[in-house]
């Protein structure tokens, strides 16, 4: 292991790390929005939209992100939809994640007993208030372990961004290996940065899961 080389590569890896984390978390943000909207549509059986949402979830849950990105990045421009690699990564991850998040939130919504909505209704709350103040917080608590699992999954999926020439961690590692053939150093840095990205989330996930299991959701 050549520490000199590591010191030399560190700035490039740090830059790539920031890019990966930024697009990764932006994509996760988008996936949360899509997921909540999708779960709402499925749970309250909104006509027409329900069928579309179901189709979207099945389509994106049963195809790899790499294929989705290729379609968005290379296929869609032929229809006149031109986007940069960064936007493509963000949108692709958001769409993939949205399909997983929707399922998580939906099962969370289903776990909230009907009597909660009925009680809120009898207290004079309107539908919007019931959803945002009564149902959603409880659904969140129930689905939080699976949401965190999805977040970890999505952060790991960012590793395919290099296929659409985003200068992420994978791209940088491959590039530097090709240039200097310092394979061991580059792979070590790659692993270290992925651990930095994923370990905190993984720990949060475990804590949350323990809390939910020990009856936090019924509190």
């Amino acid at each position: 292991m050549d520490t000199e080389a590591i010191r030399e590569y560190l700035p490039r890896f740090a830059e790539a790390f920031l890019l990966t984390v930024r697009i990764g978390w932006m994509g996760i943000g988008l996936s949360l929005v899509i997921g909540i909207a999708g779960a709402f549509i499925l749970h309250y059986r909104v006509p027409v939209l329900k069928g579309l949402t179901k189709g979207y979830i099945e389509l994106f849950r049963n195809t790899p992100l790499l294929v989705q990105l290729f379609f968005i990045y290379f296929g869609l421009p032929k229809l006149g939809v031109m986007i940069s690699p960064e936007v493509c990564g963000f949108v692709g991850l958001g769409l993939l994640g949205g399909s997983y998040m929707a399922e998580s939130f939906r099962s969370g919504l289903e776990a909230v007993p009907g009597i909660q909505s009925e009680s809120a209704l009898s207290l004079g709350m309107n539908r919007r208030q019931i959803f945002f103040y009564v149902v959603l917080p409880q659904a969140f608590a129930v689905s939080s372990p699976s949401v965190v699992a999805n977040v970890i999954f999505l952060l790991k999926e960012t590793s395919v961004f290099s296929a659409i020439s985003l200068m992420d961690l994978m791209f940088t590692a491959k590039d530097l290996i090709g240039l200097y053939y310092r394979t061991t150093e580059c792979l070590t840095l790659l692993v270290v940065f992925y651990v930095i990205m994923l370990l905190p989330v993984s720990i949060v996930g475990r804590v949350l899961e323990k809390k939910v299991r020990s009856g936090y959701s019924h509190g």
């Binding site: 379609f71 296929g75 394979t183 061991t184």
Partner: protein, 228 residues
């Protein structure tokens, strides 16, 4: 209709043997998944049973193994085995071998956790009742525990197959000519005659993957409902 198909670049699929080539590429990826799934099933079941025995050494090893494999993206593992092993120990795997190694390591980790979970969910009374009936440990496992274990792990296992198929799309990144790579070749070859081929080809691959995974997902969901 014909104009639309040509305009969107679906026409290249009917040129020469392009359909067959594309399906052949998908088959390459599916083959790697199949091998990896079979190895994962065997190794994962074994490891899962060992993990449920609560032996300290096995626990430490399996925990470490699961944590390391699960926190690393499969893409990184692929790079480590394909590029790193060659550099560090002079092990020159073919891309296919490297992929099967990585996906088996990952699948084994996932499978062992499924098996461990289902074994631990089987009540202790089952073992005790079997012993009270005079069954040997082997018989207890064969007639009482394993049949229940299989029923409980089946949905997760089938789900693992679809995850494996989706993950094998990564192998193009280490130079295996699978469906995405074949698609790129077709697009390149027809750049002049069919400039919009990228849309048609990648939309088709999107659909092919969906058709490969969706029925399996449905089966997994059906079994899950039945098991509950």
């Amino acid at each position: 209709m014909g104009d639309v198909i040509t305009g969107l670049g679906f026409d290249v699929l009917w040129k020469g043997s392009n359909w067959l080539r594309l399906l052949g590429g998908l088959l390459t990826a599916l083959e790697i998944s199949l091998f990896s799934v079979l190895i994962s099933l065997a190794a994962g079941s074994l490891l899962g049973v060992l993990m449920s025995l609560n032996k300290k050494a096995i626990d430490i090893f399996s925990k470490l193994y699961l944590e390391i494999i699960r926190i690393m993206p499969q893409m990184v593992l692929l790079f480590i085995v394909y590029f790193g092993a060659a550099r560090a120990w002079g092990l020159n795997f073919s891309p296919e071998t490297a992929s099967v190694i990585v996906f088996s390591l990952w699948g084994t980790a996932e499978m062992s956790d499924l098996v461990r979970g289902s074994l631990q969910s089987i009540p202790k009374a089952q073992y005790e009742s079997s012993a009270a009936l005079g069954m040997s440990t082997a018989k207890t496992y064969i007639y009482v525990i394993i049949p229940q274990m299989i029923r409980r792990t089946l949905p997760g296992t089938i789900n693992l197959i679809t995850r494996m198929i989706k993950t094998t799309s990564l192998v193009m990144m280490i130079g295996i000519v699978e469906v995405l790579k074949v698609g790129q070749q077709i697009i390149e070859a027809n750049r002049k005659s069919s400039p919009n081929a990228a849309f048609g080809v990648f939309a088709t691959i999107f659909l092919l993957y969906f058709l490969a995974c969706w029925p399996i997902s449905c089966l997994s969901r059906y079994l899950e409902k039945k098991a509950v």
